[in-house]
């Protein structure tokens, strides 16, 4: 399946960050990109529509990326949803925790467009 048919959900409380990720996704030919400003907002998006991949920040108010991940994995319809966690260099220890919570992959800030592309290629079905 080509990326253009997939719906991506970008979750970050910092709108500039969302834009950066969105721009990269758009360069990767994603056409449908949804946004949410924290885990809670993401949950409501997930409940309302079909999403094919989540790219989420870790550190957010209200509901963190990890909590979102746990929610996704505990939901029967969503549990196999590809989930890419964005984390900061200084918080790499988080990654192990995310992996335990079955994150599909993670990416460390700051990243390049290529890195994001590679990571997505790894977690998305061909």
């Amino acid at each position: 399946m080509a990326y253009k048919d997939l719906t991506a959900l970008v979750v970050d409380d910092f709108s500039t960050m969302r834009r950066i990720v969105k721009n990269i996704l758009r360069d990767l030919e994603f056409k449908n990109i949804l946004e949410a400003e924290d885990g809670m907002a993401a949950v409501s998006v997930l409940k309302a529509q079909k999403v094919d991949v989540i790219v989420s920040d870790w550190n957010m108010p209200k509901m963190t990326g990890l909590d979102l991940l746990k929610f996704v994995r505990s939901d029967d319809t969503l549990k196999n949803l590809p989930f890419l966690m964005i984390t900061a260099e200084s918080q790499k220890e988080n990654v192990v925790e995310a992996v335990k919570a079955k994150v599909s992959n993670y990416i460390v800030k700051p990243f390049t467009a290529e890195t994001l592309g590679e990571k997505l290629a790894k977690i998305l079905p061909d």
Binding site: T16, M17, N23, A88, V95, P110
Partner: protein
């Protein structure tokens, strides 16, 4: 147990990229260990395996394939060992681990080693600046909340998060100074969050300072963006500041250790503040003034501001908002204004009004309703809550009360009141001056207050309220009140008034707004040299507002600003003089009346006066000022508009009042911009242009003419 082991044995399939699979294994390992702590012989092996996994996960291994093979081997052995329940020590494990170790040595490498990407998209940077500013103000708020409750973990998190976000994005946008600074602050906060660092006043001061530096750095980026030259590096300054942060962390860390070791847990004084130029203190700058954009909230902002200041109050009220350029919005408002005028020109067209068609009439009512609604919406889009401006005062009060050694609390009321965004920026300076003044001159020292039987802590209340088409802003303190005697004496000494001039209380109060007036004997750092209060007055007048002062000796002073809600529209009385029409701002009018013939008196040297309820008011003949031929020359035939200027009433003579209307203010343009007595133009419903009268200018003009006359006499 067996089941778990089987699962484990079957799980290593996906390869090093199968993070979900690895997670599964890690969870299984945890489970196994929890079930049987002696599993895998001793914890060291399990730990080694976990480390290897972490290496793979964090992409730190040098040779993924061989490491992966090693892991597979190890897991298989673990399974076998587990099955046999024999805890055979695994010599091979030790050797297996080794290839991974070099990876640890340079843990800084890995995916982060790529460096910042070169996304230098000006628009993105601009958005970042805007957002970062918002974040900074939320940081300031939460810091102040933290100060009152240093244990408040939620507040720490709420401060940590925006720093973290700014750091993340600045990394992308290639802004190393910002990145460096936020990184250090983040570290500091992280320790505070983990309870390793006690939140003291020093810590809060430092973080506040970091906010100031960040503001400065953001300003530089903004300037660089405007002039499109590279961002000026402030590496040395930032580095110096970061050193201080580290110092604080170290000393505190040491102190904490000392405390656990039984020593005294007193906080150690951090390194002396140095290295950062004082010029960086941009706290007093109207940060908002630098904004080129604004945020409009499509939904009305929620009116549930948390009353508890200790709660981290990062209200998310912008769930459904968009950012648009201000000029687009201003354009929209202008065009809607034109639409309204064009509509009334069409509908008031005599030919059209001659048509007796019910459908046309119904439709025109509908049209009018829609345009009115559009105008209302367009106007409301420019409205922003005054909250942000008010909140900036919190920091000011904190800093000033520290500097002056007085204890001052700031209370707010009606922060959700909305005001035109252009005005929001304009009222910042007056507010700052008023609050400085209140702290410096109004609020007494704690000792004086105790002696007077008051609470040690003084209170300043800032309140906003919408009243009709105006917004009323109150600044009230519970200090010593205005000293009329002292003000009078000073005014006489400074030659502002003559010694024998009789003034009522109100007029004396207003003297403090005279340029260069200050009753404070010594000049203080806080409110300076009496400059400021006249600036306040100028600002308020520029905004077409009014100011009132109330004061009770020993109990406090209240300054009240009455401002129009917007600068774009004015509520005006349309008056006629001869065949000309003019608009007088309703806010300037006190009353209108037609006097009796015997109320008109002329006094030698003072000109024409009108007696209204025992008050003598100078008569200003508008027709003379505008040089038009009026219909009525006698005041008792025409109409008098009573206005108040500089605390004194004047009567303006016009022929009649035609009506009252909200008009869209149009600037007269460069060459006509500064005509005394005229503040702008407006287009009336019939499409004709009128002038908007500036009462202050009229009075000034009158005085000039009057003086000429009396000089000539």
């Amino acid at each position: 147990m067996q089941q778990l082991l089987n699962k484990l044995a079957n799980s290593v399939i996906g390869g090093p990229d199968d993070l979900a699979g690895i997670g599964e294994i890690l969870n299984l390992l945890d489970l196994l260990e929890a079930k049987d702590p002696s599993f895998a012989g001793n914890g060291a092996h399990l730990e080694a395996l976990r480390k290897m996994f972490n290496h793979i996960i964090l992409d730190e291994s040098q040779d993924r394939q061989s490491d992966w093979l090693a892991i597979q081997r190890k897991v298989a052995e673990l399974c076998d060992n587990g099955r046999d329940q024999s805890a055979a020590a695994g010599q091979p494990f030790e050797t297996v681990c080794e290839p991974a170790d070099p990876g640890f040595a340079d843990a800084g490498e890995g995916p982060t080693g790529h460096g910042a990407t070169e996304i230098f998209d000006p628009e993105l940077v601009r958005d970042f600046l805007e957002e970062a500013r918002d974040h900074l103000s939320s940081i300031e708020m939460n810091l102040l909340a933290l100060e009152t409750d240093p244990e408040n973990l939620e507040a720490i998190s709420a401060i940590f998060r925006p720093f973290h976000s700014i750091k993340g994005v600045s990394g992308f946008l290639n802004l190393p100074d910002i990145h460096n600074l936020t990184h250090h602050v983040e570290n500091l906060l992280d320790e505070a969050r983990a309870g390793k660092l006690k939140v003291t006043e020093q810590v809060i001061d430092l973080v506040l300072e970091a906010v100031d530096i960040l503001k400065m750095l953001l300003d530089q980026v903004k300037i660089a963006l405007q002039d499109s030259h590279p961002v000026q590096a402030c590496w040395a300054e930032v580095e110096a500041f970061c050193k201080r942060l580290e110092c604080l962390q170290d000393t505190h860390g040491a102190a904490a250790e000392a405390a656990t070791g039984g020593g005294s847990g007193e906080a150690v004084e951090p390194a002396a503040p140095h290295g950062f130029p004082a010029a960086v203190d941009t706290a007093g700058e109207p940060a908002a003034a630098a904004r080129g954009e604004m945020r409009t909230t499509a939904t009305p902002s929620p009116s549930n501001p948390s009353k508890d200041p200790t709660l981290p109050s990062r209200t998310k009220e912008r769930a459904a908002s968009v950012r648009i350029d201000t000029w687009k919005l201003d354009n929209l408002v202008d065009m809607v204004g034109e639409l309204v005028i064009a509509q009334s020109m069409v509908l008031q067209n005599p030919d059209l009004q001659g048509i007796k068609n019910q459908k046309l009439q119904k439709d025109s009512i509908q049209l009018r309703r829609i345009t009115n609604e559009m105008q209302r919406i367009a106007m409301s889009m420019r409205m922003v809550p005054i909250k942000n401006t008010f909140q900036k005062m919190t920091r000011l009060v904190r800093d000033l009360s520290r500097k002056s050694g007085k204890e001052v609390a700031l209370a707010m009321h009606g922060e959700e009141t909305e005001i035109d965004r252009n005005m929001v920026e304009e009222i910042y300076d007056p507010l700052v001056h008023m609050i400085r003044n209140s702290i410096d001159h109004g609020i007494e020292t704690p000792e004086e207050r105790t002696a007077a039987g008051k609470n040690r802590q003084g209170t300043i209340l800032i309140a906003a309220e919408q009243k009709g088409g105006n917004i009323v802003i109150d600044i009230r303190d519970d200090g010593r009140g205005l000293d009329t005697e002292k003000i009078r004496d000073t005014a006489v000494r400074r030659g502002v008034i003559s010694g024998d001039e009789q003034l009522d209380e109100k007029s004396i109060y207003e003297l403090i707004f005279h340029p260069g007036f200050s009753t404070k004997d010594e000049i203080t750092e806080v409110s300076g040299r009496g400059v400021g209060m006249d600036v306040v007055k100028k600002c308020i007048e520029h905004l077409r507002g009014k100011m009132e002062i109330f004061s009770i000796p020993g109990q406090g002073t209240q300054f009240q600003f009455k401002l129009p809600l917007t600068m774009a529209i004015i509520d005006g009385m349309i008056i006629r003089i001869g065949d000309q029409r003019y608009v007088v701002p309703t806010i300037s009018l006190q009353e209108s009346l037609r006097p009796l013939e015997d109320a008109y008196v002329t006094v030698q040297g003072k000109g024409e006066l009108i007696k209204v309820r025992k008050n003598l008011m100078p008569l200003i003949r508008l027709h003379r000022i505008f040089e038009v031929e009026p219909r009525c020359h006698d005041p008792w035939e025409g109409l008098l508009l009573v206005v108040n200027e500089d605390g004194r009433p004047y009567c303006l003579l016009a022929d009649e009042i035609v009506g009252r209307q909200e008009v869209v203010i149009k600037s007269l343009g460069g060459s006509l911009g500064h005509i005394q007595g005229v503040s702008g133009g407006a287009i009336l419903g019939d499409g004709r242009v009128t002038l908007i009268i500036d009462v202050k200018g009229i009075v000034k003009r009158y005085k000039e003419i009057h003086n000429d006359i009396s000089d000539a006499a």
